[in-house]
C-alpha cells in the first residue's frame, strides 16, 4: 500500500520531533543516565524516519537498517552504562557538570 506524501511528512515530523526532544534533552539535562536516555530517544527518532522512508519507497531496506540501528543502540547502551558506572565510582555523583578538567 503506497503512502502519500502528506502522510510521509507526518511520519517525518514525528521522527523530527523525537530527534529534537532527544537533542534538547541531551543539551539540557545534567543527570548522566538521563543524558544517555536522550541519545536513545534521538536514535528512535532516526529509526522512525528510516521506517517512514522505507514504507514510502516501498522497500524493506528501511526496516533492515532499523534492525542494525537497534543493535548498535543496544551495544552503545552497554558501553555507555559501563562508562557511567565507572564515572560514578570516581565522583559518586551523576552530575555531568562535575567533570570539567578539560576547561581552558
Amino acid at each position: 500500500m503506497a503512502m502519500s506524501e502528506a502522510v510521509l511528512r507526518q511520519y517525518l515530523a514525528v521522527g523530527a520531533i523525537l530527534f529534537a526532544i532527544g537533542l534538547i534533552g541531551f543539551m539540557t539535562r545534567r543527570n548522566l543516565i538521563v543524558l544517555f536516555l536522550s541519545t536513545e530517544v534521538m536514535f528512535q527518532g532516526v529509526a522512525v524516519n528510516f521506517i517512514a522512508f522505507g514504507r514510502y519507497h516501498g522497500s524493506l531496506e528501511g526496516q533492515a537498517f532499523v534492525i542494525f540501528l537497534l543493535v548498535i543502540a543496544a551495544a552503545e547502551a552497554a558501553l555507555a552504562l559501563g562508562l557511567i558506572v565507572q564515572l560514578f565510582r570516581r565522583r559518586h555523583t551523576l552530575d555531568a557538570e562535575s567533570w570539567r578538567e578539560l576547561k581552558g
Binding site: 541531551f26 567533570w99 578539560l102
Partner: protein, 710 residues
C-alpha cells in the same frame, strides 16, 4: 713610453702593498707575529723600487723633446704654445705620459667605470713620495711599534693605506680616484683608532672619518656633476679623438658644451674644493687633524703629514683645467689656503703638546700648498708638498723618539734639554725645524715656501703679506718647540731617567732602525730644495710641466688671458727679457725677505724660550684672553660640538625613543590582536563541560547545513 718596464708592470705598484697587507693581516696573528713588518717592508719596497724606475724612465724620456722645444722657442720663432695646431699641441701635452688600462670595473647602460692608470710626471713624483716615505716610515715603525699589541694589524693597515694612496695617485678617472680617496680615509680611521681600547683614540678616529666624509660628500657630488656635464668621468679619455675627450680636456677646450652645461661646469670646482678641504684639513674642516694625533706617531707622520692630507692638493693640481678661468674658484682655493695658513700658525704658537704643534703646522703648510694652487702656481705647490713630506715626516718621527724616551710625555712645559739624552734626535729634529722654518739654503723648506710666497705676492699683495706673516709665526713656533724641548737644563718626567737604558722593551734609546730612516729623511729635507732651482734646465718644475694637467692648464690660462708667470707652471721662461728680469728681482727680494723673517722668528723664539723663559711666560700672562683664544683653538671645536654634534645626538636619542615606543609599540599592538582573539575564543568555547561541547557541535553542523543548502 708604454714600453717601459715600469709602465707595463705599473699595476704592481698598488698590488704589492695590498698583498702585503693581506699577508700581514691574515697571517700576522698566528704565524708572522712580530715578523709581520717583513710583509710590508718587502712589498712597499718593491713598490718604491718600481716607482723610482718609473720616475727615472720618464726623466730619460723628457730631455730630447724639451731641449728641442726650448731651442725653438728661445730663437723667438714660435710663441709658447700658441701657433701649434690643436692636435699637435694635444700630442705634445701627452708626450711624457702613459695610459694603462687594467680592467673594466662595471658597466651600467651607457656608464662605464674602468680601472686604469694614467702615468705622467705628476703621478711619478707623487708615487715616489708615497712609496718612498711610506717605506722609510715602515722601517721606523718596526722600532716604534715593537712590543705593542696589534703589531701585525698596524702593518696590515699601513699596507692597505699605501695601496689606497697609490691607487688614488695613479687613477685615470675620477671614480677610481674616489676609491683611493675613500680608501685612505678608511685607513686613517683604522690607524688612528689602532689602540682602540683607549676612548680618546676611538673618538679621534670617528671624528677624522666623519669630518672627512663631509668633504667626501661634496667631492662625490662634484663627480656626479662632472658626469652629467661632460658625459664621462675619465680624466683625459682618448686625447687623440675629440669625441672621446675626458673631463679635463673637455674643460680645457670647451668642446661643444651647451650653455647649461657650461654653467654647471662652473660649480664643479667648488664641490671638488669641498672635498679637498676635508681631506687636506683646511678651515673649516681642519678639526680632525689635531685629534688624529691620538694615533701612533708613525701614522701621524705618514698619513697626516706626508701623504693622505696631500691628496687634496694633488687633486686640485690634477684638475687644473677645471679651475683655470674660473676666477671665483681659484680665489676660493687661494683664500682658504692663505687663511688657514695664518689661522693654524697662530694656534700652533700656544699649543703645549708636541704633536699638536706639528699637527697645526701641517694644517698651516697645507694652507701654503692650497694658496699656491689657488694662485695658479702648481709647481711650487707640488714642490712644497715634496719638501714638506720630507721634513714633516722627519719632525713627527723625531717626536716619536722623544715619546719613547719620556714614556709618552709630550707636554713641552714638562720637558727640557733633551739634547743630552737624545743626541741624534736632537740633530735630526734641528734639521727638520730648520726646514720647516725655512732657514735659507740649508733647508728645502726655504726654497719651496719662498716660491709659493713669491707666486702669491705676484697675484695679490695681501696674500703674499699674509703668507710672510705666517712664515714668521712658523719659524717662531717651530723653534719655540725646539728650544724648549731640546735646549736648556735637562728636565725629564719622573721615571723616565732610566727608561730605555738597556731595558728589555726598547733596548737603546735611539735604536738604529728608527734613526737611519730619519737620517735619510733629513738628507732629503736639506737637499730636496735644490730640485727646483728656477734657472736650471733639468729642474723639478720643468719635469712636472710635462704633465698634461699643467701643460693644458697653462695653455688654457694664456687663452683666457690670465696673468700667470710661466715658471710656476713648469713652462720655460718667458722669452721677453724684461719680464724675466722682473721675475728674477721678485724672487731674489722674496728670498731675502723670507730669510730675514725666518731668522727673526728663530731669534724671537730663542729670546722667549731659551734665554728668558720665566719672563716670557709672565709676558704671555699679560694677555689672558688672547692666550685662551689661541689655546682653545678659537673654539672651533666647541662651536661644532654645540651647533652640530649635540643637536644630532639629541635627535638620535629622540629617534631611539620613537623607535622603541612608537614603532615597537605598533608592532606589539599588532601582535596582540591574534592573542586577544585566541583568548576570547578559549574563554567562550572551551569550558570543559560535555554539554557545552555538544552545543558547539550542533552549531557547527547547523552552520555547515546552512552554507550547503543555501
Amino acid at each position: 713610453m708604454e714600453q717601459l718596464f715600469a709602465v707595463k708592470y705599473s699595476y704592481l705598484i698598488p698590488l704589492l702593498p695590498l698583498l702585503g697587507a693581506v699577508a700581514a693581516g691574515f697571517l700576522g696573528a698566528r704565524w708572522l707575529k712580530d715578523r709581520a713588518h717583513w710583509a710590508i717592508w718587502i712589498t712597499v719596497g718593491g713598490s718604491a723600487a718600481l716607482s723610482l724606475a718609473l720616475l727615472t724612465g720618464m726623466i730619460r724620456h723628457v730631455p730630447a723633446e724639451v731641449r728641442e722645444r726650448a731651442h725653438i722657442e728661445s730663437s723667438g720663432a714660435i710663441d709658447a704654445g700658441e701657433s701649434l695646431s690643436d692636435s699637435a699641441q694635444m700630442a705634445y701635452a701627452f708626450r711624457v705620459s702613459a695610459s694603462k688600462h687594467v680592467y673594466t670595473w662595471l658597466e651600467a647602460g651607457k656608464f662605464k667605470a674602468e680601472v686604469g692608470f694614467f702615468l705622467d710626471p705628476l703621478t711619478a713624483v707623487m708615487l715616489c713620495i708615497v712609496t718612498g716615505i711610506g717605506l722609510l716610515i715602515a722601517i721606523y715603525s718596526k722600532g716604534y711599534m715593537a712590543g705593542e699589541r696589534g703589531y701585525f694589524r698596524f702593518f696590515a693597515y699601513v699596507g692597505l693605506f699605501i695601496f689606497a694612496m697609490t691607487v688614488l695617485v695613479m687613477a685615470d678617472n675620477f671614480l677610481l680616484l674616489y676609491l683611493g680617496w675613500e680608501g685612505v680615509g678608511l685607513c686613517s680611521y683604522l690607524l688612528i683608532g689602532h689602540d682602540y681600547e683607549r676612548p680618546a683614540a676611538r673618538e679621534a678616529a670617528k671624528k677624522a672619518f666623519l669630518v672627512n666624509r663631509v668633504g667626501d660628500c661634496g667631492f662625490a657630488l662634484g663627480i656626479m656633476l662632472m658626469y652629467v656635464t661632460f658625459g664621462t668621468v675619465s680624466y683625459y679619455g682618448n686625447p687623440r679623438n675629440p669625441v672621446e675627450y675626458g673631463v679635463l680636456i673637455q674643460a680645457a677646450t670647451n668642446v661643444s658644451l651647451s650653455p647649461w652645461q657650461q654653467s654647471a661646469a662652473q660649480w664643479i670646482p667648488f664641490l671638488l674644493i669641498l672635498g679637498a678641504i676635508g681631506k687636506s684639513a683646511q678651515f673649516p674642516l681642519h678639526v680632525w687633524l689635531p685629534d688624529a694625533m691620538e694615533g701612533p706617531t708613525p701614522v701621524s707622520a705618514l698619513i697626516h703629514a706626508a701623504t693622505m692630507v696631500t691628496a687634496g692638493v694633488y687633486m686640485i693640481v690634477r684638475c687644473g683645467t677645471l679651475f683655470v678661468g674660473n676666477g671665483p674658484a681659484t680665489m676660493t682655493v687661494a683664500a682658504v689656503g692663505v687663511f688657514t695658513a695664518l689661522f693654524a700658525a697662530t694656534i700652533a704658537m700656544r699649543q703645549f703638546d708636541l704633536k699638536r704643534v706639528f699637527a697645526y703646522s701641517t694644517i698651516s703648510q697645507l694652507g701654503y700648498m692650497f694658496a699656491a694652487a689657488g694662485v695658479l702656481a702648481p709647481v711650487p705647490a707640488i714642490f712644497h708638498l715634496l719638501t714638506h713630506a720630507f721634513f714633516k715626516a722627519l719632525l713627527f718621527l723625531s717626536c716619536g723618539l722623544v715619546m719613547h724616551a719620556t714614556m709618552g710625555e709630550l707636554d713641552l712645559r714638562k720637558l727640557s734639554g733633551l739634547k743630552r739624552v737624545l743626541p741624534w734626535t736632537n740633530r735630526l729634529m734641528l734639521v727638520g725645524c730648520m726646514a720647516l722654518a725655512g732657514v735659507p739654503f740649508v733647508s728645502a723648506g726655504f726654497f719651496s715656501k719662498d716660491q709659493i710666497i713669491a707666486a702669491a705676492w705676484y697675484q695679490n699683495k695681501l696674500f703674499g703679506l699674509a703668507l710672510l706673516v705666517a712664515a714668521f709665526l712658523t719659524a717662531y713656533y717651530t723653534f719655540r718647540v725646539y728650544f724648549r724641548v731640546f735646549q736648556g737644563p735637562t728636565v725629564l718626567p719622573h721615571g723616565a731617567e732610566t727608561h730605555g737604558q738597556g731595558d728589555q722593551q726598547h733596548g737603546r734609546r735611539e735604536p738604529a732602525v728608527m734613526i737611519l730612516p730619519l737620517v735619510v729623511l733629513a738628507v732629503g729635507a736639506i737637499l730636496a730644495g735644490y730640485l727646483n732651482w728656477p734657472e736650471r734646465q733639468a729642474s723639478l718644475g720643468r719635469f712636472l710641466g710635462q704633465s698634461p694637467s699643467l701643460c693644458l692648464s697653462h695653455t688654457l690660462a694664456s687663452r683666457y688671458g690670465v696673468d700667470v708667470p710661466p715658471v710656476p707652471f713648469g713652462v720655460e721662461e718667458d722669452p721677453d727679457k724684461k719680464v724675466r728680469d722682473a721675475m728674477n728681482v721678485l724672487h731674489t727680494n722674496m728670498m731675502v725677505a723670507s730669510g730675514l723673517i725666518a731668522a727673526l722668528g728663530i731669534y724671537v723664539a730663542y729670546l722667549f724660550h731659551r734665554k728668558y723663559r720665566a719672563r716670557s711666560e709672565e709676558l704671555a700672562m699679560r694677555f689672558p684672553s688672547l692666550n685662551r683664544m689661541l689655546e682653545r683653538k678659537y673654539w672651533v671645536d666647541e662651536v661644532y660640538q654645540g651647533a652640530i654634534v649635540e643637536p644630532l645626538r639629541r635627535l638620535g636619542r629622540a629617534f631611539n625613543l620613537a623607535d622603541r615606543f612608537v614603532i615597537d609599540g605598533i608592532v606589539r599592538a599588532v601582535s596582540l590582536t591574534p592573542q586577544i582573539g585566541g583568548f576570547a575564543l578559549k574563554l567562550t568555547t572551551q569550558r570543559g563541560s560535555l554539554q557545552g561541547y555538544a552545543v558547539l557541535m550542533l552549531l557547527g553542523i547547523a552552520a555547515i547545513l546552512l552554507i550547503v543548502l543555501w
